[in-house]
Symmetry: C2
Subunit: 69 residues, 2 copies
Amino acid sequence: MKTLIREKRIEMDMTQEELSKKLKVSRQTIISLEKGKYKPSLILAHKLAQTFNCAIEELFIFEGDENIE
Amino acid sequence: MKTLIREKRIEMDMTQEELSKKLKVSRQTIISLEKGKYKPSLILAHKLAQTFNCAIEELFIFEGDENIE
DNA sequence: TAAAATTGTAAAGCCAACTTGACATACAAA
DNA sequence: TTTGTATGTCAAGTTGGCTTTACAATTTTA
């Protein structure tokens, strides 16, 4: 899975800390998400998409067996 | 969070077991999701939405503090 | 009504999402 | 050089998504 979190955050001129406070998660969570260390919960994915005014499926790009076959 | 999984599954004339096999999860997982016992992972939410030909945000309805404030 | 199909409950276990905290690196400005 | 801001690593702990197994209840169909 790829994510455009970093790109969209920078587009909106936000720091990791600002984003983390807006979403009420730790800054470490933002770092890890941007680095692809793990995948967000559905709720967090939704809040991220809301923040960036886009659909979840625009913010996260699913690949291979993350799609149905 | 509310979900339309059950409604969409029945619309498509699928049993819980058929759906679980298509998504490669346990039937118990489908039961628990339909009953609202827990929230799916992002990947599973995506596969469900794909199965039902809709966006994640159409299949799951976020409420209250599941939205940004 | 009896059999079969579908849906449901309960419980124990694994692993990943997320947290907290402490510290490191890089860069810009004073 | 020193200070401040932004980003990063590491590690240990908690929680909850999902699994498996076994069995019970409900609905459908013959």
